[in-house]
């Protein structure tokens, strides 16, 4: 008997019951007034208090950890609630949260179902199959288009399983790449208006926004799905020192260049 299709519903129900038990409405949990803006998920000043960003009905709490000016920092987006019909369309917050969880759980389950058929805990291998999707609108494709590559998958087994993905910045985008990706996101927005897609676009827009600044770039992106979807952006100054890995590589290249240059210099004596 296949029980996998029920798993997302169970997760959604459990998460909803957790929220209901807390007795705190989603808006109260976020702690500040909503701001209306087209792309509100920009860099928050380090001294900024947690804010809610509302993008077409999506409510996210953003916060910045660490002192940004010199040494970088971490910015997080906690997706708290979403209304698929957009802002001002009515509907209770509980409905919005329910839809959000269903979507998130569906996203998770679609990956599970392709590999496992039961309560087998996910393994990194099972998830990597999900990344091979050829659908250009797939979230993983969008993250790749933004210049990031999957580096790590962390899975925890429990009543609420935890799944986290770590992406590293591997490719600088040209202006043409940014224009192309923005067009792709505009078309994505026309096609997919569900909360999950909104959250995905919010993550990509945030990457683009931060990376276009002259001061910082997102070196690492961590996306966690459960218990609450979260995107964590590790901001590093553009002019920061090289990492150990890059420094080693750089020294190796310089060493090779010296080796190659030597015979040429010796030849030039003749």
């Amino acid at each position: 008997m296949s029980i996998a299709p029920r798993t997302p519903r169970l997760i959604a129900a459990f998460a909803l019951s957790l929220l209901a038990a807390s007795g705190v409405p989603a808006h109260a949990q976020t702690g500040a007034a909503a701001t209306e803006s087209r792309h509100p998920l920009e860099i928050v000043p380090p001294q900024g208090a947690p804010l809610i960003a509302r993008d077409s009905g999506l409510v996210a709490r953003r916060s910045v950890l660490g002192g940004l000016p010199d040494g970088g920092g971490v910015m997080t987006l906690d997706f708290v609630a979403a209304d698929a019909a957009g802002p001002g369309a009515g509907g209770s917050v509980a409905d919005a949260i329910g839809r959000w969880y269903q979507s998130a759980a569906y996203w998770l389950a679609s990956t599970y179902n392709s590999i496992t058929d039961g309560l087998t805990p996910p393994t990194p291998e099972t998830f990597t199959k999900g990344f091979k999707s050829k659908d250009p609108d797939d979230f993983w494709q969008l993250v790749g288009d933004a210049g990031y590559k999957l580096k790590e998958i962390a899975t925890d087994v429990g009543v609420v399983p935890d799944v986290g993905f770590k992406f590293r910045y591997v490719r600088e985008l040209s202006d043409g790449d940014v224009n192309w990706l923005e067009r792709k996101l505009r078309r994505h927005e026309e096609k997919y208006r569900d909360p999950l897609s909104m959250a995905q676009r919010a993550i990509i827009y945030t990457l683009l926004s931060i990376n276009s600044s002259d001061d910082y770039f997102v070196e690492e992106l961590r996306v966690k799905l459960l218990p609450l979807p979260t995107a964590r952006f590790s901001l590093v100054p553009w002019d920061s020192g090289l990492s150990w890995e890059h420094d080693t590589l750089m020294r190796a290249i310089q060493g090779q260049q010296r080796v190659l240059r030597k015979p040429m210099e010796e030849d030039s004596h003749y």
Binding site: R171, E172, D175, V178, W180, S213
Partner: protein, 360 residues
């Protein structure tokens, strides 16, 4: 006429306080201010700006616009250099201002920018009537025109001569493409949409970390006669160049140029989409360039939140966003600008008239 204007202003001043405020706003700019609006525009936008200038002179007796033609990137750079009488008031470009450029503006204190969404232009592929019409893709264009193409993990000199060599779905004819010469805004667009777009996604390019190296490798066009550059202005030099070109040649031109020569040209679909006003407007067609004007609010009259650097800048906005200019039968529409849908035009007009700040 000036005397009548002064009289009107005095009467207005005496009449109501509200009108008095308005009349004060019409007081000429400070002696240090300019009287003529300075616009930096990329070549195709120069035509639109010229038409707009004529209307401003005719309707409002304003001095003609001082228009400087330059490529989009230097134009934005000049616009974003700072604010004051020595800097341009307006920039007109065939694309949206990039984030980096916007950040540069902010750094230089150019903070209150108003974006005017005027309409669209597009880069289209055309062939002479009677020549084969086939579906083109950016990938095919890249493999046809790149100086070096990836073969396995290496890059080798591109020696492809016929379209059929690239794909059995393409016609069996020699590759010959005409396009705007190197260094022009149209050429930059062609490279971005067709060359860079064609190599995007190839794994040999995904390994490049540095964007500049990747773009250079993607967009360097071969110089063995397969591509012929048309000298600027393309609107003038396109027809003679196409007449000299061998049979079966295709050309990459702005939609406005096609529109002026459509009696003897056919359009080629790109990625299966034929460029029409509808597909350009809906962004279904790939190579669409939105025509944008950016205005410095700080250069407007003090009553509009500016420092009075130049007079008549709000009139400029009003005229450019009017139905007479960008409406379906407007004078810019007559110049083959693809105008937006009525609801979008209304929204863009309202946003411009209220001087909403542009943000990226």
């Amino acid at each position: 006429m000036t005397f009548r204007l002064i009289c009107t202003a005095i009467v207005a001043l005496l009449a109501t306080p509200a009108l008095a405020t308005q009349a004060l706003a019409e007081v000429p700019a400070a002696p240090s201010g300019r009287t003529a609006i300075r616009v930096v525009a990329s070549p195709l936008e120069v035509r639109f700006t010229g038409a707009l200038s004529e209307q401003l002179v005719k309707k409002y007796a304003m001095p003609p616009l001082q228009v400087e033609s330059m490529l989009a990137a230097p134009a934005v750079k000049a616009f974003c250099a700072g604010y004051g009488v020595n800097t341009p008031d307006v920039v007109a470009i065939p694309r949206q201002m990039a984030r980096r450029e916007y950040n540069q503006c902010i750094e230089n204190g150019v903070v209150d920018i108003v974006e005017l969404r005027v309409g669209f232009d597009a880069l289209v592929l055309v062939a002479r009537k009677g020549d084969p019409v086939f579906n083109m893709t950016p990938r095919a264009m890249y493999f046809a025109l790149a100086a070096e193409v990836p073969t396995g993990v290496e890059f080798t000199r591109n020696a492809v001569k016929r379209w059929r060599d690239l794909s059995p779905r393409l016609p069996d004819q020699e590759i010959h493409v005409l396009g705007s010469e190197n260094g022009t805004a149209i050429n930059a667009f062609f490279k971005e949409f067709f060359m860079e777009g064609g190599c995007r996604g190839l794994y040999q390019f995904k390994v490049f970390y540095n964007a500049a190296d990747r773009v250079k490798s993607c967009t360097t066009v071969r110089e063995d006669g397969v591509f012929t550059g048309i000298k600027a202005p393309i609107a003038v030099n396109f027809k003679p160049a196409m007449e000299k070109a061998p049979p079966g040649s295709i050309a990459v031109v702005p939609f406005t140029v096609y529109d002026a020569n459509k009696n003897w040209l056919d359009l080629l679909p790109v990625d299966g989409v034929v460029p029409t006003e509808a597909t350009i407007r809906s962004d279904d067609y790939l190579a669409v360039s939105p025509v944008r004007y950016y205005v410095k609010r700080k250069h407007m009259e003090p009553s509009l939140g500016g420092d009075g650097v130049v007079k008549g800048l709000y009139k400029f906005v009003e005229e450019l966003m009017s139905e007479e200019a960008i409406g379906p039968n407007g004078y810019l529409d007559a110049m083959s600008l693809v105008v937006d849908d009525p609801p979008d035009r209304k929204r863009d007009r309202e946003s411009a008239m209220r001087l909403y700040p542009f943000r990226r």
